[in-house]
C-alpha cells in the first residue's frame, strides 16, 4: 500500500496470478483513475519508490507506467515525475465505455465457447440487471 496525499493508493501484487506483474499494476492504477480515486493532475509515486514499496524490479514499474502513458492515463514530465493525465469528462466516459465494451466482448466469446445462444445470453443479462 502506498500512502498518497490522504488517499491510499492500493496496489496488490499476486505472485500466483496468470497476469504479468506489470499488467497487474496497470489494471489497478487505471481502475483507480477511472473511478476517480486518483485525481487528474495528482502525482504518482516515482518508478523507483513504487518498485521499493512493492519489492519488485524498477523495469517492471517502468513498463507499467509506459503502458499507462500509452493509454493516455498518465503523463510523465522529465525530471518531475508522473501525473494522472488531465482528461475531459467526455473522453474519460468514452474510455470507460470502451473498457466496458471490451469486457462484454470477452463475455460474448466465452458464451460462444459454451454454445450459449443470443437469446439465452440476453435473458441472463436481464436477470442480472434485476438482481445486481
Amino acid at each position: 500500500m502506498y500512502k498518497h496525499r490522504g488517499y491510499f493508493m492500493n496496489i496488490i501484487i499476486s505472485n500466483s496470478s496468470v497476469e504479468a506483474i506489470y499488467v497487474q499494476i496497470v489494471h489497478q492504477i487505471r481502475k483507480q483513475i477511472l473511478t476517480g480515486d486518483l485525481y487528474e493532475g495528482e502525482a504518482l509515486p516515482s518508478i523507483r519508490s513504487l518498485a521499493r514499496e512493492l519489492q519488485i524490479s524498477v523495469i517492471t514499474t517502468k513498463h507499467a507506467y509506459e503502458e499507462l502513458e500509452r493509454e493516455g492515463m498518465i503523463e510523465t514530465v522529465r525530471g518531475k515525475g508522473s501525473f494522472v493525465a488531465r482528461q475531459n469528462k467526455e473522453l474519460l466516459r468514452e474510455k470507460r465505455r470502451n473498457i466496458l465494451e471490451g469486457k462484454l466482448a470477452d463475455v460474448i466469446q466465452e458464451a460462444r465457447l459454451l454454445k450459449i445462444t443470443r437469446k439465452e445470453l440476453q435473458e441472463m443479462l436481464d436477470v442480472l440487471l434485476e438482481e445486481v
Binding site: 496468470v18 504479468a20 518498485a51 521499493r52 519489492q55 524490479s57 524498477v58 523495469i59 513498463h63
Partner: protein, 287 residues
C-alpha cells in the same frame, strides 16, 4: 558511460573446469542477479571482477575502467559482500573496524555503528564464534559503510533467516539510485530475485542467458499436459522435458504458439526457479 560493469569474452581455465567467453553488462541504476547451480562459475567470475584471480583472456571494466589497471580506485568504490570471515576469525567487531576502515577513503564510522546496531551484532564476541548469518551481516555492514557505488555480493543470502532476508531487500533497494548498481550471485533462486532488474544465468562455465528479468519471465512458460499430447512438433518447442507416469512438464519459449495450437495443455507463468531448473536439465540432455 552507461555500464557500471562490462565483461567481454572473459576466460579462465582450471583443470577440469573452464569459464568460456563470459560476457555481460550491468547498466547504472539496476540490480542484476547472477544465478546458476553450484560449480557453474559464479564465484570464479566474481573473483575475476574483484581481481582476486588472474584471468586468461577477455576484458573487465568497472565504472568504465580496466579492473586490473585501476584496481585500487575501483575497489574504493565497491562494497564487496562475501564470506570473508576467515580473515577476521580472531578479531571482534571493533578490531575488524580498525582493520578495514583505513582501507577506504570514504569510510563512514557513523553508518557502520548504525548497521551494527540494526543488525544486532555482538560487539565483544570473536568473529569465529559468529553464526553464518551474523558473519554475512558483518560483511554487509562493512560493504555499506564506505559510500560504495557498486555492491558485488557472492551468495549474500546464504545463512540468513527469512525475516532478515526480507529486511535485506529493503536495505538493497534503499541503497539503489540512478547512479549505483548491484550484482549478486545465488545458486538458489531466492527472495532477492524479486528485486532483480536483470538476470544473468550461468551454467557449466558459460552464459546461458543475460537479459532483463521482465523479458525472461515473459518469454518462457511452463507447459504441462498428458503424455499422449506430445508429438514431434510439440517436442521441438519443449525445453528440459520431463515425462512422468501421469503426464509431462517442460519449459517453452514458444508460449503463444503453444497456447493457440495446443488448447488442452496448461501453460503457466514460470518462476526463476522453473527457468533455471529446466534450462539446466536441457543442458545436461545435450551433453
Amino acid at each position: 558511460m552507461d555500464n557500471i560493469i562490462e565483461v567481454k569474452g572473459l576466460k579462465k581455465k582450471y583443470e577440469g573446469f573452464s569459464l568460456q567467453d563470459i560476457s555481460f553488462n550491468l547498466k547504472k541504476g539496476y540490480i542484476m542477479g547472477f544465478i546458476g547451480p553450484n560449480g557453474a562459475g559464479k564465484t570464479t567470475t566474481i573473483k575475476l571482477l574483484m581481481n582476486l584471480l588472474k584471468k586468461d583472456g577477455g576484458e573487465i571494466k568497472i565504472f568504465g575502467q580496466d579492473n586490473v589497471r585501476y584496481e585500487k580506485s575501483i575497489k574504493d568504490r565497491i562494497g564487496f559482500v562475501y564470506d570473508n570471515s576467515e580473515f577476521y576469525d580472531e578479531l571482534n567487531i571493533r578490531d575488524v573496524k580498525r582493520f578495514v576502515a583505513p582501507l577506504y577513503s570514504r569510510w563512514d564510522n557513523k553508518a557502520f555503528e548504525e548497521y551494527i546496531k540494526t543488525f544486532n551484532l555482538p560487539v565483544k564476541k570473536k568473529v569465529k564464534d559468529f553464526s553464518k548469518g551474523m558473519k554475512m551481516k558483518l560483511s554487509l555492514a562493512l560493504a555499506l559503510s564506505h559510500h560504495a557505488e557498486l555492491l558485488i555480493m557472492d551468495e549474500p543470502t546464504s545463512g540468513l533467516d527469512p525475516v532478515f532476508r526480507q529486511e535485506f531487500l529493503d536495505i538493497i533497494q534503499d541503497f539503489m539510485d540512478e547512479s549505483k548498481g548491484v550484482l549478486f550471485s545465488s545458486h538458489i533462486t531466492s527472495d532477492l530475485d524479486k528485486i532483480a532488474d536483470y538476470v544473468t544465468f550461468i551454467n557449466n562455465g558459460s552464459i546461458v542467458l543475460t537479459s532483463s528479468k521482465e523479458e525472461v519471465m515473459e518469454k518462457y512458460g511452463v507447459v504441462k499436459g498428458g503424455k499422449d499430447d506430445i508429438n514431434d512438433d510439440l517436442r521441438q518447442k519443449l525445453i528440459g522435458l520431463h515425462e512422468g507416469k501421469f503426464g509431462f512438464e517442460a519449459l517453452t519459449s514458444d508460449v503463444d504458439s503453444i497456447r493457440t495450437r495446443y488448447k488442452n495443455l496448461v501453460v503457466e507463468r514460470p518462476t526463476m526457479e522453473d527457468i533455471m531448473l529446466y534450462l539446466v536439465r536441457e543442458g545436461k540432455g545435450n551433453v
